[in-house]
Symmetry: C2
Subunit: 409 residues, 2 copies
């Protein structure tokens, strides 16, 4: 008996009707293999951005219920067109909005979370040979209002649908061939990974690899649903993201991520007393600003320097908050540096291998790269360095850990 596969195609994969025909061909091939298919689509190319522009013409900060009602139309267009293309091939494609299907979410407009996916109806249809084509990125709340899941939410729809359908695999089609050891645009020796664990994918996603949306990986991990990341432009097996298995290859380091979209903020000379971190970060968090790397150093005279990074777009707001905090704590100057990059090495092999960190620091030192901040987790080590040294750092580390070779010992 064949498999049940949920295929999710992103915006570039359905950017125009030609691309939609390619997607229809892909689905036809899968069916000819004897598999059953359900499909989740993003909106065509830049169509969501065009809708957002229209909204901003009316109001730069539009009402979020109406914003969601507006932008959800993008996926409704792509699913209807793909259903037409499938029907043309003699495949019984049938479009569904999240609303028609019953994808229930909470009421957090523009960043809603999926609570439940109603699949009894399409389950029967799939058994009868229908290919349901479902709008990604959206749902409805308990009032019957349309909600959206936020940027990249279509990945989460794909995974949630696959979980609800008890599918064998969720295939996420993008414009890259899969998950690489590092960004191929940063280092051309980057190698496509055949497999990666959920845990590693989560660390890679959260530290800059934008192949999969973080939430979708969390969701898949929670329900142990294998995700395969593939290109809709090139053939290939892509990367399988699944639960860590003993039979999986076990390199020390699987991948290196790099981002230069953060800024570093430092508040100097605050009293080194218990609770000072909470006093500094509390107001930042209250303003809805996400903090990434955090480092606290003891300095002279029982004072401390406190440093953290935020997304560049939040840097000005965070700086203002920090100045207030410094005044009330009797602290010193506030410094902002957005000329930084963050490099992370990720690998579940680290757990069992001592010396990974020192190998990393040695490689960076050999390339005369100065480390500004360090932070570690069980399977990740991140360093913040000067932005101009980002590419050089990635290459040094990629070489040091032999990531261009198929199997690290």
């Amino acid at each position: 008996m064949g498999k049940l596969i949920v295929k999710k195609f992103g915006g570039t994969s359905v950017a125009n009707t030609e691309r939609i025909e390619v997607v229809a061909d892909n689905i036809q091939l899968e069916i000819e293999k004897g598999n059953q298919v359900a499909v989740v689509l993003s909106a065509m190319g830049k169509s969501t951005d065009e809708l957002i522009s229209l909204a901003r013409e009316i109001n730069p900060e539009p009402n979020l219920r109406e914003y969601d009602a507006l932008v959800s139309t993008g996926e409704q267009i792509s699913v209807a067109l793909l259903a037409m293309a499938l029907l043309k091939r003699g495949i019984n494609g049938k479009s569904y909005t999240a609303y028609q299907l019953g994808i229930k979410t909470n009421s957090s407009h523009s960043r809603a979370r999926i609570l439940d996916v109603e699949v009894s109806k399409i389950n029967n249809e799939i058994q009868e040979g229908t290919v349901p084509v479902i709008t990604g990125f959206q749902g409805m709340n308990e009032n019957g209002d349309i909600t959206t899941l936020g940027r990249g939410g279509s990945d989460t729809t794909g995974v949630a649908l696959a979980v609800a359908l008890e599918a064998d695999e969720c295939q996420i089609y993008t414009d890259v061939d899969g998950v690489f050891t590092t960004d191929p645009r940063v280092y051309d020796k980057a190698r496509l990974l055949k497999e990666v664990s959920f845990e590693e994918m989560l660390e890679l996603s959260s530290s800059g690899a934008k192949v999969l949306q973080l939430r979708s990986v969390e969701y898949a991990s929670k329900f142990n649903l294998p995700i395969r990341v593939l290109s809709s432009f090139n053939d290939g097996e892509g990367t399988l993201v699944q639960e860590e298995k003993n039979i999986m290859e076990r390199p020390i380091v699987s991948g290196i991520s790099s981002i230069d979209s953060e800024a570093k903020l430092t508040i100097r000379g605050v009293p080194d007393v218990p609770g000072v971190a909470a006093k500094i970060l509390g107001p930042i968090s209250d303003a809805g600003i996400e903090v990434d790397v955090i480092v606290q150093n003891i300095s002279a005279e029982n004072n401390t320097d406190f440093t953290f990074t935020v997304d560049k777009s939040d840097a000005v707001q965070a700086e203002n908050i920090l100045k207030h905090t410094s005044d009330s704590l009797g602290g010193g100057s506030v410094e902002v540096d957005d000329d930084i990059a963050k490099i992370s090495i990720v690998g579940r092999g680290m757990r069992a291998h001592a010396g990974v960190a020192s190998k990393m620091f040695e490689a960076l030192a050999a390339s005369e790269i100065n480390i500004l901040m360090i932070t570690t987790s069980e399977i990740k080590i991140s360093v913040v360095i000067k932005k101009s040294e980002m590419k050089n750092a990635v290459k040094s580390l990629h070489d040091a850990f032999d990531l261009d070779k198929e199997l690290d010992s």
Copy 2:
């Protein structure tokens, strides 16, 4: 206490965000008068045509369920944008798709008929000061599929919603100032009518005046709901379309419609036996072609010439069918003439006045216009003439019946 008014705005009235702001101003003014408002919108400008082009790129004859799912997105965009514009003005606008509201239709995709409109929810919201903004042109069938009502269907949505809400009036905003005695582009002496009866509006609509969709007038007439046709570009009272009342002005002729979009087909020398009309028109009707004017003349030797008009776009197909029919009936030649125009005079006063037809024919004769076909109903007389004489005919008749003057005796 204020009135409850349903306002329907067409595609040109919401063609861009500037026009949508003008619509929001209109609604704000109505609310400041102490009235309650519900709104129905068409899709923005040519957006529906763009969606249809996309569908045609996939399949020139796309599946109709998917076609409806696709084109229904146009109105979803306009209603969300108008709700944003109302909220910006401190008015509690709230968009609804026909799906969310529960506009139930039959399953005739792309030309569905409204069966029921669920208004209990928005009725409560209107009482609390909300302005619901509802997608025109669409609904859902009993399977939960999205349906559309066909071109101009938003007028019908407006009227159906007004009937369900027991509104005082349905205002249809267009790009013209109302219903005129004749098309102002054909004759500049055309006069705006303050009032017109449902019956007259039906005859004017069906004979070429495209101000209101025929079905919406039928619907309003059935439930005796007054419609007001207004311009969203100019101020003015527009034209009130309502049940004939004794207090209404009572001209013999209210208006003149003219169209040049039909072709005339003649089949010569068919045997003049009972049932021949059915044998000729049956196959035409079976092909889904609508026939307008029909004339049958006895000719020599118990043969008859049979002539009728169809829309030009159907003329080639109708000609082919007619040639088959002529072969099987032993008839003569088939002739097609698309160089024609149809002029109709409409007025409920005709009933009580003899001599309207002869006055019409005299006026045309005085202008040396040859009549090719004549057909009459209780409140309408139509003639088919050469297309080149259309404007001249309209002017002659407009003058002959003194339509430029406020009250005809």
